[in-house]
């Protein structure tokens, strides 16, 4: 088995792993070759070791997983790769915003307490989304049956909204004025709609 031959086997194995898009076992790799040219298991394993070494310093590496070998993009490049799959940000649901507002103004607060005020169940998704964004966290558990988690807002939450502390949140008295803001926003929207379809009239 000369070196040139091994190098060729290595290239074929690499090509196969890149084309397969799934892990291939040693026997599957050997199955690519006709019977006369089929390398022994040992040879194939040697070739895989060679391939592994040849990937040093590259963007991908050879991984041995349960169902065989696969080429995988190196974890260290995830921050760049991620941008390939970024989608446009969506908007948060009303339910999420209400939950967040209640945690901000009534913390520490349990999910049950939020549900009591909102009158509907809070989905685990909402809590998870808020926790993943690192806007809320569990600060303890209430000493009642079930020992429910108590949620509070985080420093990241304050940073996002440019607040130094919760006391900078607008007080609820101001929230009343929001009715006005709400009306304003509605009017603005109407303006846009009117612009879009000048024939329609709003009263």
């Amino acid at each position: 088995m000369n070196e040139e031959h091994l190098a060729r086997l290595q290239a074929i194995v690499e090509a196969a792993l890149l084309a397969a898009g799934k892990p291939l076992s040693v026997d599957q790799l050997r199955g690519l070759f006709s019977e006369e040219e089929r390398p022994a298991r040992q040879v194939m394993e040697h070739v895989l070791t060679m391939l592994e070494k040849s990937c040093e310093g590259r963007g991908f590496e050879l991984k041995n997983v349960a169902s065989g070998y696969r080429l995988q993009v190196r974890q260290e490049f995830a921050p760049w790769i991620r941008r390939l799959f970024e989608e446009k940000p969506q908007r948060y649901s009303r339910a999420l915003l209400e939950t967040l507002a209640l945690i901000a103004y009534r913390q520490p607060i349990t999910r049950g307490e939020i549900e009591e005020i909102r009158g509907v169940t809070v989905s685990s998704n909402i809590i998870r989304t808020l926790a993943e964004r690192e806007w809320v966290r569990v600060v303890g558990h209430r000493d009642v049956p079930g020992r429910p988690a108590m949620y509070a807002t985080t420093r990241q939450f304050l940073d996002y909204f440019n607040l130094t502390g919760l006391d900078e949140l607008p007080p609820l008295s101001e929230i009343r004025d929001l009715e006005e803001i709400g009306r304003e926003m509605e009017e603005n929207m109407q303006g846009e709609i009117e612009f879009d379809s000048s024939e329609q009239t709003f009263h």
């Binding site: 090509a15 084309a19 991984k63 080429l71 995988q72 993009v73 190196r74 974890q75 490049f77 995830a78 921050p79 790769i81 991620r82 799959f85 970024e86 989608e87 446009k88 940000p89 969506q90 948060y92 009303r94 915003l97 209400e98 507002a101 209640l102 901000a104 103004y105 009534r106 913390q107 520490p108 005020i117 909102r118 009158g119 993943e132 964004r133 600060v139 303890g140 558990h141 209430r142 000493d143 009642v144 020992r147 108590m150 509070a152 807002t153 909204f161 502390g165 919760l166 006391d167 607008p170 007080p171 609820l172 101001e174 929230i175 009343r176 929001l178 009715e179 803001i181 709400g182 926003m185």
Partner: protein, 276 residues
Amino acid sequence: MTDETTDVTAEAPEAGGEHEPLALVSGKPVVDLPKDLYIPPDALAVFLESFEGPLDLLLYLIRRQNMNILDIDVSEITRQYMDYISAVEAMRFELAAEYLVMAATLAEIKSRMLLPRQESEDEEEIDPRAELIRRLQQYERFKQAAEDIDELPRMDRDTFHGSAALPKLPTSQPHPDVDMKELLLALQGVLQRADLFTSHHVEREKLSTRERMSHILSVLQGDHFVSFESLFTPEEGRLGVVVSFLATLELIKEQLIEIVQADVLGPIHVRARAAN
């Protein structure tokens, strides 16, 4: 016969093989069969389907005779074409109109050539033979181009897209933007529904107390005691100490923490009532 019969899913003749007769009977190509032999209908059907129309059939006949397109022996080609057409008709295969039109064109060219050439005053008239040759040439170019395209290295046949498994990716979804106004509108909505405006007035001071409550709770994570003094940061000044104290009282009131003092005047310890 349109090329419906030779769509991608249908059996297509082998690329490069279309110059060979597709059906052989007793070693002779089917194209000669009309004169000599009985044509098995199967063979004729294959033959019929292997051409992409009358131009393709004509090109085949011309090539088989080793003729140059520019130098077609129209009489011979016409005879062969007609033999083919009549064989197909005899088998009662449906024949596309294009083939019949071509038969008529060929017949016309042949008849013209049998007549002595006249100096035509009518120069506008298109020479049907020139027109036929032009069409054959044109068709041949694209027939060739189709073969060339088929030869190009192609994905999933000659090459394959290389891909590697993805590493674990951090949340790929960028976070939505939230405006404080949105948050307040949401709160307003929920408070209105719950009719909480009057009963639970949240004030500024109260909010800093609640913030401190969260802070103290997070310090008390775990089942351990913390000294009461450590909850206060003198550097914060009087106001900070007061807020911490209020927060502690509120936590005790809400039964979220417990306070233990082993001896009179001894150190006071605090811990969360529900350990994690």
